[in-house]
Symmetry: C2
Subunit: 581 residues, 2 copies
C-alpha cells in the first residue's frame, strides 16, 4: 500500500515510529511558523504538523499549497501532541512531516464536506461522489454492508442457500408496472425486470432447496415518492415443510440477530396481532406499539344524546392522551387543524378534558352531561389529568384519521423514541381486497398466497371475508417485511386466478410453468421478504431510504449525477426492432 497506516489508527503507543499516511485534506491552520493539517480518510483523521526550521523547506512549501480535499501522501514521525484532542481517537498524536507528496489536487468542492454541510439536496445528488465522502453518509452505507453480512451469516448458519435468480424474466400483468427490456435476439419480444423473485423462489422449493434466501435487487416502474425508488433491495426468503408459526419464529430469530449483532440491542417480545385487531385498535395495519393510546369505540355511549354528528356516524372513536388535560385552547386548535388537513380529512375534533378536580370539560358540553363524559372516561381508562380526543364518521375513514392523530400525539408526547425498537407480527390479513377502480378483487399480498383452510368455503360466498396465511413484520410502525404460506397445488392456484379475474388462458400463459411445477411433488412452503432499504433506514433511525442507497434516483426516476436515462441512437433502436413514437 502507498501508506503504512490509515488515518484512524495511530495512538500514543506509536510515538517515534516512522509512518506514511494517505488521505484528504480536511483543513489546514497556518500560524506563521507553525502549520497543522487534518488528514482524513474513511478510518479517521490524523493531524500533520509542519514547523519552519525543522520541516524541510520544500515540504513546507508543498504544505502551503494544500487546499481542501487535496489528496496527499505524507511521511513522518509520530509525536505526542502538545494540546491533545480528546474528541478523536488519534487526538493524542500528530505526524511531524518529513516528506509530502500531492497525489491529486482538488477544485473547491461545491459544498462543504462535513457532517453539517451547506449543500442542498439537488447539488449533493449531482455530486453524489462528494456527498458520499461525508462521514454521515458513508457511515450509513457501512451500516448497510454490515447488516447484509449479519443477515447472510445468520441465514447460512440456519442452512439457507443463497441462490441468484434471473434479472431478465417475463412481464406479468399482475401487480405494479414492470420495467421491460427489448430483446435483440428475439425482436418484438421483451424481458421484464423482476418486481420480486417470487415465482423463482417457489420453484426452488419445488426443487427441494428447502431453505432459500437472496439479497436481491427488484424493480417497479411506479410513480415515485420520497421513500420509493425504481430499484430497491429485498431480503428474500423461502422455506419448505413449514407452517406460519415456523416462519415467524425463524425470522424473529433473524431480526433479533440483526439488532443484536449490528446495534447491540436485545429485542423484547414479538407479539402477534390480527389484521382485524390492528385495524380496530390502531386504525392501521402497521401499528406503532411503542405506546398504547388504543382506540376506544364510543358509539354506545355517545349516540342518541342529540349530537347529530355522532348520531349519524358509523363510528365514534376516541383515544386517551395521558396527562394532556392542561392543553391550551391553542394546542387544541392545532390538533383540530392537524386532523382537518386535506391529507387526513377529518371534519372536526371533539375533546374531553378530565380535570384534576374530577370534573370534565368538553367541546360538546351542550349535548353531554358530566355523567355521560365520566362514562366515556371510564371506558377509555382516562384518569384525572388526561385528555380524550374523539373523531367520528364512516368506520374506515375515521380509523385512518384517528391513526394519524394517534401517531401525531405519540410523537408530541415523546412516546416514539428512535432508540426503542418494538416489533410486532400482524397476521391473518384478508386474502383479497376490492378494487373500486377495476371493480374486481385484487390479491392483498400476491396471487400465490394461500387462504386459511377454514375460510376456503367463503371464497365463493363472501370472498372479501377470506383470511390469508399472510403476515407482516412491523417495527415501530414501519412495515419491515411481509410474507405468506403459499398455495402449493394446482387446483387452488387455478381457483385463485379465477377469483382474481384471470381467464384460464391468461393464467396459463402467465403462470403455466408454476402451475405445471405444482403437479410434480410441490412441497408445502412459505416465505417472507424484507424491504432492505427501509430496514437499513429504520436501523439508522432515519425516515429516508434514499440516504441508505449509494446512488439513488430522484422522484423523476433520474440519476442526475450520470444524467440517466438518456437517448440512444437510431442504429441501436433498429437492432432492437423498435421505434420511438
Amino acid at each position: 500500500m502507498l501508506r503504512t497506516h490509515t488515518c484512524g489508527e495511530l495512538r500514543e503507543s506509536n510515538c517515534n515510529e516512522q509512518v506514511t499516511l494517505c488521505g484528504w485534506v480536511q483543513r489546514s491552520r497556518d500560524k506563521g511558523g507553525l502549520m497543522w493539517t487534518d488528514l482524513r480518510d474513511r478510518y479517521g483523521i490524523t493531524q500533520l504538523s509542519f514547523e519552519e526550521g525543522s520541516t524541510p523547506a520544500e515540504v513546507l512549501e508543498t504544505a502551503r499549497k494544500l487546499g481542501r480535499e487535496f489528496v496527499v501522501k505524507a511521511t513522518g514521525t509520530v509525536v505526542e501532541r502538545y494540546s491533545k484532542n480528546d474528541n478523536i481517537p488519534t487526538g493524542g498524536i500528530e505526524i511531524k512531516v518529513e516528506s509530502l507528496e500531492i497525489l491529486n489536487g482538488s477544485k473547491v468542492p461545491p459544498f462543504i464536506i462535513e457532517d453539517d454541510t451547506d449543500g442542498g439536496e439537488e447539488l449533493r445528488m449531482k455530486y453524489r461522489y462528494l456527498d458520499l465522502r461525508r462521514n454521515e453518509v458513508r457511515s450509513k452505507l457501512q451500516l448497510r454492508s454490515k447488516l447484509a453480512m449479519a443477515v447472510r451469516n445468520y441465514l447460512a448458519e440456519q442452512d439457507f442457500i443463497e441462490v441468484e435468480t434471473p434479472v431478465l424474466i417475463k412481464s406479468t400483468p399482475e401487480g405494479a408496472r414492470d420495467f421491460v427490456v427489448p430483446s435483440r435476439m428475439n425482436q418484438g419480444e421483451f424481458y421484464a425486470l423482476p418486481q420480486s423473485p417470487q415465482t423463482f423462489k417457489q420453484l426452488l422449493m419445488v426443487s427441494g432447496f428447502d431453505r432459500y434466501f437472496q439479497i436481491v435487487k427488484c424493480f417497479r416502474d411506479e410513480d415515485l415518492r420520497a421513500d420509493r425508488q425504481p430499484e430497491f433491495t429485498q431480503i428474500d426468503c423461502e422455506m419448505s415443510f413449514v407452517n406460519q408459526e415456523d416462519i415467524l419464529n425463524t425470522f424473529e430469530g433473524m431480526t433479533r440477530h440483526m439488532f443484536s449483532a449490528v446495534r447491540g440491542v436485545e429485542l423484547g417480545d414479538f407479539p402477534h396481532m390480527t389484521y382485524a385487531d390492528a385495524m380496530r385498535k390502531y386504525g392501521n395495519d402497521k401499528p406503532d406499539i411503542r405506546f398504547g393510546m388504543e382506540f376506544v369505540e364510543l358509539n354506545e355511549l355517545a349516540q342518541n344524546k342529540g349530537f347529530s354528528i355522532f348520531d349519524q356516524a358509523e363510528l365514534v372513536v376516541g383515544i386517551c392522551a395521558e396527562g394532556c388535560a392542561e392543553y391550551t385552547r391553542k394546542q387544541l386548535d392545532a390538533l383540530t387543524d392537524f386532523v382537518k388537513r386535506p391529507q387526513i380529512g377529518a371534519k372536526g375534533l371533539v375533546y374531553v378534558k378530565c380535570n384534576a378536580d374530577g370534573t370534565f370539560k368538553s367541546s360538546v358540553d351542550k349535548f353531554y352531561s358530566e355523567e355521560d363524559l365520566k362514562a366515556w372516561a371510564d371506558k377509555a381508562g382516562a384518569k384525572a389529568g388526561d385528555l380524550i380526543l374523539v373523531l367520528s364518521g364512516t368506520a374506515n375513514e375515521t380509523r385512518k384519521q384517528m391513526s394519524e392523530l394517534r401517531l401525531h400525539m405519540g410523537k408530541e408526547l415523546g412516546l416514539r423514541d428512535k432508540n426503542t425498537f418494538q416489533p410486532l407480527w400482524v397476521i391473518d390479513f384478508p386474502l383479497l381486497e376490492w378494487d373500486e377502480e377495476t371493480e374486481r378483487f385484487h390479491a392483498m399480498h400476491h396471487p400465490f398466497t394461500s387462504p386459511k383452510a377454514e375460510d376456503m368455503a367463503l371464497l365463493d360466498t363472501d370472498p372479501g371475508k377470506v383470511r390469508a396465511n399472510a403476515y407482516d413484520l412491523v417495527i415501530n410502525g414501519v412495515e419491515i417485511g411481509g410474507g405468506s404460506i403459499r398455495i402449493h397445488d394446482r387446483a387452488t392456484q387455478q381457483l385463485m386466478f379465477k377469483h382474481l379475474g384471470f381467464t384460464e388462458e391468461e393464467a396459463k400463459a402467465q403462470f403455466g410453468f408454476l402451475m405445471d411445477a405444482f403437479e410434480y411433488g410441490a412441497p408445502p412452503h412459505g416465505g417472507i421478504a424484507f424491504g432492505f432499504d427501509r430496514l437499513c433506514a429504520m436501523f439508522g433511525g432515519s425516515d429516508s431510504i434514499r440516504d441508505y442507497i449509494a446512488f439513488p434516483k430522484n422522484t423523476s426516476g433520474r440519476d442526475v449525477m450520470i444524467d440517466s436515462p438518456s437517448t440512444i441512437d437510431e442504429a441501436q433502436l433498429k437492432e432492437l426492432g423498435i421505434n420511438l413514437r
Copy 2:
C-alpha cells in the same frame, strides 16, 4: 416444522425415537408382506419401512399408492436396519412408519431424477425445477452459495465495504452491446443495464470508500455461446492508495482463502508472467501452466535448409512431448488432423521422433540431417523417447495454433488434472489493441486502465506498444479475474479517450461525470473483477458455467421454462413511448 428431522440426519444412536420426516419418494420396493420406500430431501435419503401385520392397514394402503416424487410426511420409530447400507450416512437405520400423509402427489416426471438422468438438455431446461432436484445440480448451486459466503467473509475481514451500485444506468457506446430499458417517466430516453459497475466503483474510490466490493449481476447483449450468458455475476472489487503489487497480493489472499475454505486445497505459488512472455512461451494470454511444454523457437535452426515452408514462415515453433517418440502413424495423423481443423487452421504438422537409440526420425528427413534434428532436440530439451511437434507460419497465428496443440497434448498425456489448481498472474498487458474492422485502437481492458508511466511517451509515437497496469488471474488456463490500476486524473483520461477515437464532446457526454469527479481529489486506485460463474465452474471441475446458474438462458437468450422473452401489449408500449418496427 412439519418434520422433526431431515432425511439426512438420523443414525443408529437415534434408535427407538419417534420421528417425523418429510420428503420426496425416490423409489419403493414392495416384496409382498414387506415394503420399503426411500425418502429424499436436500439433506439425504432415509428408508421408510412397512410390514403387513404390524403397520396399520390404512398406512400400508397409502404407502402402496406412492409414486415417484410424491411428497409425504411420515411418522414412525427409528429402528436398526436388518441389512445395512454403508454407502449412505443414514444406512444403518430405517423408520418403522406408523402414520403417513401424502402432502402432494406427482405426475410421472419427464426424466429420471437421479445423478445419471435420461433427460436431454432441452427437456431438463424446460423442467429446470425438476433438474434442480437432482443432487448433482443442486450441489453445484450449494457450492456457489458457499463460495460467495467465503468471498464475502474474507473481504469484510479485510475492511472491504459491500456497496450496491445501480442496475438502471446509462448506455455507453464503448465495449459490448448494452441491454436497454425504455423509461416511461422520461419518454424517448432509456436506461442501460450495467456491463460492470466500473464507473461507480471508481466514484466510490473518489468518495473515500477505500475498499469496495460487490457480488453483482452484469449484463451484455452479445450473441451467445455455450459459456456465455446475457446476465452473469461478477465479484467486483476496488481499492485506493495501492499499486499493482498490493492488488495482486490482496486477491492472491482471497483466492487462497476460497480454495482453502471451500475445497480444502492449499494453493502453491502465484507466479507472475508478462503478457509478452505468455504469448511467446505458450501462445496464449491465459496459459495453463499445470504442465510445461513451453514453445521453442526454431527459426534459426530450421530455416535456410531448403524446406520452403519453414523458410517462408515468420515463425517456426516447436514443443516437446515427453515420452511420445513411440507415437504410431495413426496417432501422428490424428494430431495432424487436429491442427488442420478449421477452428485451428494449421496447414500441416511436422514431427521429430527422438528415438530410444539416439537416432531421429522426422516428417522432414528430406531437408534435415540427423545433426540438424539433434540441434532442434537440444534446443527443445528433448531426450531420447520424446517427440517434437513443429508448426510454422505467421507468428500470431502459429502461436495460437501451437497453443491449441499444446493444450491438446497436455490433455492426452494426463497433465491437466482437474484436482490440481495452478494459479498464474499475467501482467503488463498492452493498453490498446488495433481493431481491423473499425480501423482504430480499442482499449484491451477498458478505457479507464492506466498506461505504465515509463511507456507514456509511446502513446503518441507507437500506441500499440504501450503497456498497461493491467493483470489477469489465470487458473489452469481459465481466466478467472482481471483488473487494472486506473487513471485518476482528468488529463490522462481525456488523452485516453482521444486515442480511442472519442471526440471531446462524446467523451464528455458519456463520461463527463467521471472526469469531473477526478478533479475533486481522486485518489490513486485500482481493482479487479472475477467472473463468478466461471470461478464456480472451475471450482466444481466443470467447463460449463450454465451448470452453476439456477435458471440459465439458452443460446438464443430464451428462458424456455418461463417462456421469456415474450410480447407485451400495446398499452404498455404506448406508455413507454415506443412502437415495434
